[in-house]
């Protein structure tokens, strides 16, 4: 089970992330997770939202460059060493992770993973101690 992540191209400019979050707020779209990859002149915002289709539509209407990327979101126990076990298993099976981001709350940690091979990654994750989230 993969989920859709929004990737949005942003210039490095004060207030630019705010422009985007304001639009999502206005249309009642909730953000579950996001991370920002930045270079000297532009950034790529990676975003998991409550209503993907609607988010793409409203952001494109506002001239944002948006694309969808398939990613895997897992949750694992929020204890020391649990992510390490999972990553260890993926590495042993030759799955390369292009990027990931995570947040933990209570006894659960959520991790978004963008691997080089989605299907293989999903297959291997099913053998690990974690849940694959649908959101």
């Amino acid at each position: 089970m993969t989920i859709k992540q929004l990737s949005i191209f942003l210039e490095n400019k004060t207030g630019r992330i705010n422009d985007l979050t304001k639009i999502l707020g206005k249309y009642g779209i909730n953000m579950h997770a996001f991370s920002m990859a930045e270079t000297t002149d532009f950034g790529i915002l990676r975003l998991i939202v409550s209503d993907v289709e609607r988010a793409v539509e409203v952001l494109r209407n506002e001239n944002f460059a948006v694309m969808l990327t398939d990613v895997v979101c897992i949750s694992c126990p929020n204890v020391a060493g649990s992510l390490s076990e999972i990553l260890d298993h993926l590495a042993k099976n030759d799955i390369f992770i292009e990027y990931m981001y995570a947040f933990a709350e209570g006894d659960k940690a959520n991790v978004v993973i963008h691997p080089n091979d989605l299907e293989k990654c999903l297959a291997e994750l099913s053998k690990c101690e974690c849940n694959i989230n649908k959101l």
């Binding site: 990737s7 790529i44 460059a65 694309m67």
Partner: protein, 432 residues
Amino acid sequence: MIWNPNKECMSRDEMHALQGRRLQKLVTYVYHNVPFYRNKMQAMDLSPEDIKSIDDIVKLPFTTKQDLRDNYPYGLQAAPPSEIVRVHASSGTTGNPTIVGYTRKDLAVWSEVMARCLTAYGVTREDTFSVSYGYGLFTGGLGAHYGVENLGATVVPTSTGNTEKHIRLIRDLKISGIACTPSYALYLAETLDKMGLTKEDINLRIGAFGAEPWTENMRKEIEERLGLKGYNIYGLSEIMGPGVSYECQEQNGSHINEDHFYPEIINPDTLEQLPYGTQGELVFTTLTKEGMPVLRYRTKDLCTLMDGTCACGRTSVRMGRIMGRSDDMLIIRGINVFPSQVESVILEMPEFEPQYMLVVDRVNNLDTLQVQVEVRRDFFSGDVGSMLAMKKRLADKLKSVLSISADVRLMEPNSIERSQGKSKHVIDKRNL
């Protein structure tokens, strides 16, 4: 001092007569040797016999940079290949540069006019002179070089690059004169500081600065920091190279070597000749050139012409400071850049919208060029690596077309301001 008082201080009547004779000879020469001019003149029902004095020059057709490009490489050359002893090339827009061939006599004229310039600046046989324009296809280096040799001073062909080594030579060889771009002169001053030296450690007294626009404030700063007196030198490769005009000790305009390069000012819209004192586009006719003579070449530089005998004794017409361009050409680090060159590169790459902005600035006395482009939505990728690769592809192409490196900035779609009517593609923050 005056290198050639016969010519530089000639009475106006004599000069006009000389120019008239030379123009007649030139028109006959190009009519019989360059089909481009013959066709143009025939279309205007004009024959060489119609040119009887210098005032008849207004009957002749104009030549533009585009004509030079269209006739690449040798279409406008008048002399047979066996007579050409050197070529130079100036940066062109995408595709064709401008090729200029010189005969042995052309090179002798060039060295003569350069010697006049250097003498007006106060250079003598006792001086050691560093030529720090680029040597190569650019006319600056070799043009100034042979002028210094002709004058009889010692030339040090330093060219550009390795500034610390250059400063050591300036100090150790007691170099007293230098020819370079004004921005390079300021860079030299900075490097001098960095090396823990001051103007007291060197003996520079004369600077010949040109090839890019500069201001009175830059002149003061260069003079103060390097301890020299700075003079303007003007030239363009299509006409000859450096040495077309020069400042004297009075520094009230630049004297034009008008026995070789006949100047006019025209209204760039109506193409009418304008009187002295009126600002317009500067036009030159090469009265004595053999290799690639040009009739009424439109420089696109805007300035005024002044007549009247100068306090230095020279009678030649002077040109004022270049006040701008009648086209959109930019001069960045001495290199001519047209926005259309950038545009053609961007149009060839489907990744980008046909929207762009050039931001030119001067940071630490060096010109910088930033090219902002919009990434097309379909080509946006969520992967930083491929976006950076896209950026590099554009930067590499720009470098090969412009000959200078540009800082590319990827922008969001629709983020570059769309202007009403004539689109604006340049922000020049240099205040020149």
